[in-house]
């Protein structure tokens, strides 16, 4: 059950990351089209504005993928001195702090979108982009990051309770450890 949930979470994040990457690639194409058209004085403008929105989306929707890939940077100088059980405990602690912080950020991000919605705010640019669109994408990315973190905390807590330390490590440990124990 736990293994399936984790696998499902990873699969979802994988798909999301590919989608985010494709959007980035399309944005690069868009920028290049803009540069090219500019040579013929045909620029449609606004590519820098759209790049900003894509960046905000990438910086929120990619977070959860980095989480399940164990890519978020952690300093493991002390952690590596501990035995397996201590490590698992430390991982769960770090993960819980992270989940709490991220949930707080997601909650505090709502007022940004809320204000935009109630005021009908538009970007201060010739495009006049309705800001709720990029902000909704950005906000939901943080919410999903918070949800993923909380699910991981829950799953890891169950594993720790069952004293499955290796399982905890694979789920929320650090990359070098995971690879070492996979026998690489």
């Amino acid at each position: 059950m736990i293994t399936q949930t984790l696998a499902a979470l990873r699969r979802i994040n994988h798909v999301l990351a590919v989608a985010t990457g494709v959007v980035l690639l399309v944005t690069a194409g868009f920028v290049i089209l803009d540069i090219t058209l500019r040579q013929f004085a045909l620029s449609f403008g606004g590519s820098d504005e759209i790049s900003g929105y894509v960046m905000a989306g990438l910086a929120s929707w990619g977070l959860s993928y980095a989480l399940t890939e164990l890519a978020h940077v952690r300093i493991d100088l002390i952690r590596l001195q501990l035995r397996q059980g201590g490590r698992a405990l430390m991982d769960l602690f770090a993960m819980t702090v992270m989940a709490g912080t991220v949930t707080l950020i997601a909650m505090k991000s709502w007022p940004v979108l809320e204000k935009t919605l109630t005021r009908g705010s538009r970007a201060n640019t010739p495009l006049e982009t309705p800001l709720w669109i990029p902000q909704a994408v950005w906000f939901s990315g943080w919410v999903w990051f918070a949800v993923s973190s909380c699910i991981l905390v829950l799953l890891a807590a169950i594993l720790l309770f069952r004293r499955d330390f290796a399982g905890v490590d694979r789920m929320i440990g650090t990359v070098s450890e995971a690879d070492l124990e996979a026998g690489k």
């Binding site: 004085a41 620029s43 403008g45 820098d48 007022p111 204000k115 005021r119 705010s121 538009r122 970007a123 201060n124 640019t125 010739p126 006049e128 800001l131």
Partner: protein, 325 residues
């Protein structure tokens, strides 16, 4: 009382000459030690100009100041404070801002939960062009670096193209022909050496006047005693707002003298740009575009009620009326 104050761009004279001395010295001294101030600027905090009033409304800090144009994303009706080309001299600009003040106060109260304390100008925004430009008509078909939504809309209506170029890239972009003209404050243009790569200086306020609004969070304001409120209001008007406007008038003359080589320049080596002063034909043309295209579009963004109010206040002062059906 401790007040946290967030100033406008830390590198510009308005902040260095007026905001900092007023908030960190004049006001605390005048309060006899009652008021102390913590001051920083939005650029030092790493927040965007457009976020200043949003955060001010939330009470993140007590007093904030930034260019009103930055906040029009949240309040399109605020664009009416800085309509380009309707006021051509600092005195006219001051009259325009004064006429708009009651509107601005209502906008800040409703949109940002804030009370307006002062509206001070940045140095007048002028146009640096490469090649021979004699009138507004000559700008058609040119690529122009401007700022502000209404200016960009005006350029579009004129048949020019608005291009987004960072301040520091303007000389290179002018030289390579990426742009033909660029709008900025006269003093910044002189000190950044834009005169080295351009020939014509138009003192036409194509970019408006970029008024900077100083506002205080409404809850914080209400928590102050009536005496303190009266003292702050009086001091801001007399020792911050008034001298800032007085300097704007003087500095335009000096900047133009330095940029054209006509008159006395005490800032350094005078340049020899050709001066194109606003003429009646340009003013008439600008008003035609404004009343036919730019302002009616704004009336749609802001709503007819605001347009009506603008007609009765600013419009009367500057002699422009938005046709409303």
């Amino acid at each position: 009382e401790e007040l946290s104050v967030v100033g406008s761009w830390s590198s510009l004279p308005l902040h260095k000459q007026f905001e900092t001395p007023f908030w960190t010295k004049t006001l605390p001294d005048a309060s006899g030690g009652e008021i102390s101030v913590q001051m920083t600027t939005h650029d030092q905090m790493g927040i965007k100009g457009g976020d200043v009033y949003r955060m001010l409304g939330d009470g993140v800090f007590d007093i904030g100041m930034t260019v009103a144009d930055y906040a029009v994303g949240d309040a399109p009706e605020l664009e009416g404070l800085d309509v380009p080309l309707v006021a051509t001299t600092p005195a006219e600009a001051k009259a325009m801002v004064e006429a708009a003040r009651p509107m601005v106060e209502d906008i800040f109260k409703d949109r940002f939960n804030a009370k307006v304390l002062a509206i001070a100008p940045y140095p007048p925004q002028v146009v640096f062009c490469k090649g021979d430009i004699a009138s507004l008509d000559d700008l058609a078909g040119k690529k122009i670096r401007g700022s502000g939504r209404m200016t960009t809309k005006f350029l579009e209506a004129l048949g020019a193209e608005g291009v987004n170029v960072a301040f520091s890239e303007v000389p290179g972009a002018l030289e390579r022909g990426v742009i033909d003209c660029a709008v900025t404050g006269s003093g910044s243009g002189y000190s950044a050496g834009w005169w080295e790569v351009s020939d014509t200086l138009m003192t036409l306020p194509l970019g408006g006047w970029d008024p900077v609004v100083t506002a205080v969070n409404m809850d914080r304001w209400d928590s102050l005693s009536d005496d303190t409120k009266a003292m702050i209001t009086a001091k801001v008007a007399a020792e911050f707002e008034a001298p800032a406007w007085a300097t704007a008038t003087g500095s335009l003359e000096m900047d133009v003298a330095c940029l054209t080589g006509n008159g006395e320049c005490s800032m350094g080596k005078p340049a020899s740009m050709k001066l194109v002063a606003p003429n009646d034909a340009d003013t008439a043309k600008a008003r035609k575009i404004l009343t036919e295209t730019v302002l009616p579009e704004w009336a749609e963004r802001a709503g007819t009620d605001w347009a009506k109010r603008w007609n009765e206040s600013v419009g009367k002062t500057v002699g422009v009326q938005i046709p409303l059906s």
